[in-house]
Assembly symmetry: C2
Homo-oligomer: 177 residues x 2
């Protein structure tokens, strides 16, 4: 197994964080991994808010607890908030395609890069797509015309158990021609 | 620098492939890395066509060469074709959000996982978003109601030079609160 396959297997949604603060430098390294992610025409259609001050972390955690979900975020130590920004594509491409066509895919790689780097730093992450967007916008001062793409909660995992991943077997989604 | 940061810095768009076939087993490992990618509600809204037979590779390469772009794909040895599939979300989530809301971000992580595993196998990749979708659909028998998300060309790089990445500096897209 390659190192990357091992890392991909180890990264999992962490839903039990330890009561242990996360070092600022580790969050910086996660942001650096995201910065290096690829994007269509290298447009980098993203911005990132790293929430680490305890008061703000509590406020953001509350935004994720809709419908009784995500109780585990009471113990999150930090959050990454990934925001979609306007993309400027190469003129040849922009003449044929909508300028935001690649943005959501690019942000998907951006967020996964954060999580993979967090995993190498011994941190657990949980990617969250459903949260109180208007409230979060207000708390973090994110402009109305920007889409808040995903939230990631961060902390040290309370346990080091790696669960088996539940995925479709290869033969159900890959074919070779 | 963590191993992952090093890997993220090494992965780059390869636009000069060597005249050297790519082993089937390496392509299988890339697909395995993608299989392990995270997705909203673990819906795995993706399928993958791995194109490796030389005749098909030539036909797919031709689909990428619009507007005089992507001449380098004449030397591609294989392609990954990532296709968006319908997502089934958890009922609580599905009651509030469009079922495909996370799919493009999920596919972004899926494709990046392919590319990162390829890099660990010594392979170069180039992610392509603009190509002749109707023609490709026909060549590969992809149903009309499925969106062909991205193509990735694959081969051994002709050179092992790692270019410096051109990216916004951190201070232009990250803030810490």
């Amino acid at each position: 197994m390659s190192d990357f396959l091992e890392l991909a297997a180890r990264r999992q949604s962490c839903r039990d964080f330890a009561d242990k603060p996360v070092e600022h430098d580790k969050l910086v390294k996660c942001a650096e991994a995201a910065r290096l992610a690829p994007s269509g025409c290298n447009a980098q259609p993203w911005s990132l808010v790293v929430v680490e001050s305890p008061d703000k972390v509590k406020e953001v955690a509350a935004c994720t607890q809709l419908l009784g979900l995500n109780k585990h975020n009471d113990k999150a130590q930090a959050f990454f908030v990934a925001v979609e920004e306007p993309a400027t594509l190469m003129p040849k491409v922009a003449s044929l395609l909508d300028s935001q066509i690649f943005a959501k895919g690019d942000l998907g790689g951006f967020v996964l890069s954060l999580c993979l780097e967090a995993e190498t730093q011994g941190l657990g992450t949980c990617i969250l797509g459903m949260f109180d967007r208007p409230k979060l916008r207000e708390i973090l001062g994110i402009p109305d015309d920007r889409y808040i793409f995903l939230l990631v909660s961060v902390g040290y995992p309370a346990s080091d158990r790696v669960r088996n991943k539940i995925r479709k077997p290869a033969e159900e989604f890959v074919r070779y021609v």
